[in-house]
Symmetry: C2
Subunit: 232 residues, 2 copies
DNA sequence: TAGTTGTATACTGTATACAGTATACAAAAA
DNA sequence: TTTTTGTATACTGTATACAGTATACAACTA
């Protein structure tokens, strides 16, 4: 075989499939926070044995999306005010580090790529496609974290990010006033800091944005709790 | 039962036992970096089935102590220069955050506790008990990270710390000039910053120390590699 | 001899089966 | 009626068994 005819086949374990589906269901909110995840049920639904389900649950536990209680099973994480503050503050701290590592390495094609992402975000807002907006929002930050070229930083960021996504989805479903325009506006400001090769401004912005979103999520949490106690 | 007669029994799964033992063996260097971890062998040695061993290996993978290759198994992590830089830089970044969160909360009894740890370190050096010194070194930083009262930060720190310990053990076994005195000296300087309620100085010190230790470990790595190529 | 293919072996990945534990609820006793 | 105890049930934790895959090496072919 002297030329590359076929694409590489990725080792495709069931576990990755299971993991991916469950993570999606939890992050998107299809499974409610606090819900009990029954291994046998999940295994039956997906037509696999409990073992790969268990192993996926382990990974989700490490990612912080579920909590495991010995001999009781797995439960989707519920966020307290402290949890929300933790998630966003740690994410902000990790992104700050990412800016310090990434900005010196960034060239014009990186700036262009980020510019494109912002434009796509504006388009998504015009289309009222907020799922797409959330994805593009994520890609903007992800791009910078990848550019930092720091695998451990990236891994830690992904873990916090999954929980952020979960909270942002929760906010989107429950908060009346949703202001999608803030996403590209914030990103424009960050991009400017990148173009000026000034990590410190990007870092200050990150903490500012983080603070704001954290506040938003806390309000959402309170309104959900208020609605729940009112219903009872 | 009107009074507390018996201590609570912690749910004691085999897995925790297995996890603890394997982690210790890897961090301490009893198992060489790069070594293949055979599930069946380990299960046999510990007289358990492969399942709890597998689950422990998953956790070690998430902690970054081992690498899993699909259908090939688990291998103890080997550190490249990039890995070493990553581990120490991320740890420094996390500790910086810990200082910002912890220092405002610290009182005289915290300072006293840290002072005691430093004294114990000096005693350990006099006793030439370097295992104990490593433990006390760890406790100093751990105390601050716990005081930050940020569970996600603490979790991320523990993950980096396990790899740091592994590298420091490697250095201890291979590096000729070992200067244990630096540990309490550095800690004295950090403690002073804490007493002065000045996180920024503590942060600057952390990066300085991190840089130094990182350099040391990289040198160790090179000397090990040089010894290996010479042997071949 | 060099390169390819077949085959054995040993390992991981998954399925099934059973043991251990938590929980809810009914029955019994105070 | 309230508290305690027994019991059933359903779940997780673990063991065993087997299927799928990677690797090494022998046999074969050009």
């Amino acid at each position: 075989m002297d030329s590359q005819l076929f694409m590489k086949i990725e080792p495709h374990s069931m576990e990755n499939e299971i993991l991916y589906r469950m993570r999606e269901a939890i992050v998107s909110g299809k499974i409610e926070p606090g819900a009990h995840l029954n291994e046998t049920d999940i295994a039956k639904q997906m037509a696999v044995s409990r073992i790969p389900v268990r192993e996926s649950l382990r990974k989700l536990e490490q990612e912080g999306l579920i909590v495991r209680l010995p001999n009781k099973g797995c439960f989707v994480i519920t966020f307290s005010e402290q949890d929300i503050n933790e998630v966003f503050s740690l994410r902000a701290s990790l992104e700050s580090m990412a800016y310090q590592w990434a900005i010196p390495k960034m060239g014009t094609q990186d700036v262009q790529k980020l510019k494109d992402l912002i434009e796509q975000q504006e388009q998504a807002i015009r289309n009222e496609d907020y799922d797409e907006l959330a994805r593009l929002d994520m890609h903007f930050h992800e791009y910078i974290c990848i550019k930092a070229n720091h695998s451990r930083l990236l891994k830690a960021w992904y873990e916090q990010h999954a929980q952020c996504q979960m909270l942002l989805n929760l906010r989107f479903r429950h908060l009346a006033e949703y202001t999608p325009e803030t996403v590209p506006i914030d990103h424009h400001r960050i991009l400017k800091a990148i173009e000026n090769n000034d990590p410190q401004i990007a870092i200050d912005l990150t903490y500012e944005i983080s603070e704001r979103v954290s506040k938003d999520c806390n309000e959402t949490l309170k309104s959900i709790q208020a609605a729940r106690t009112a219903a009872q």
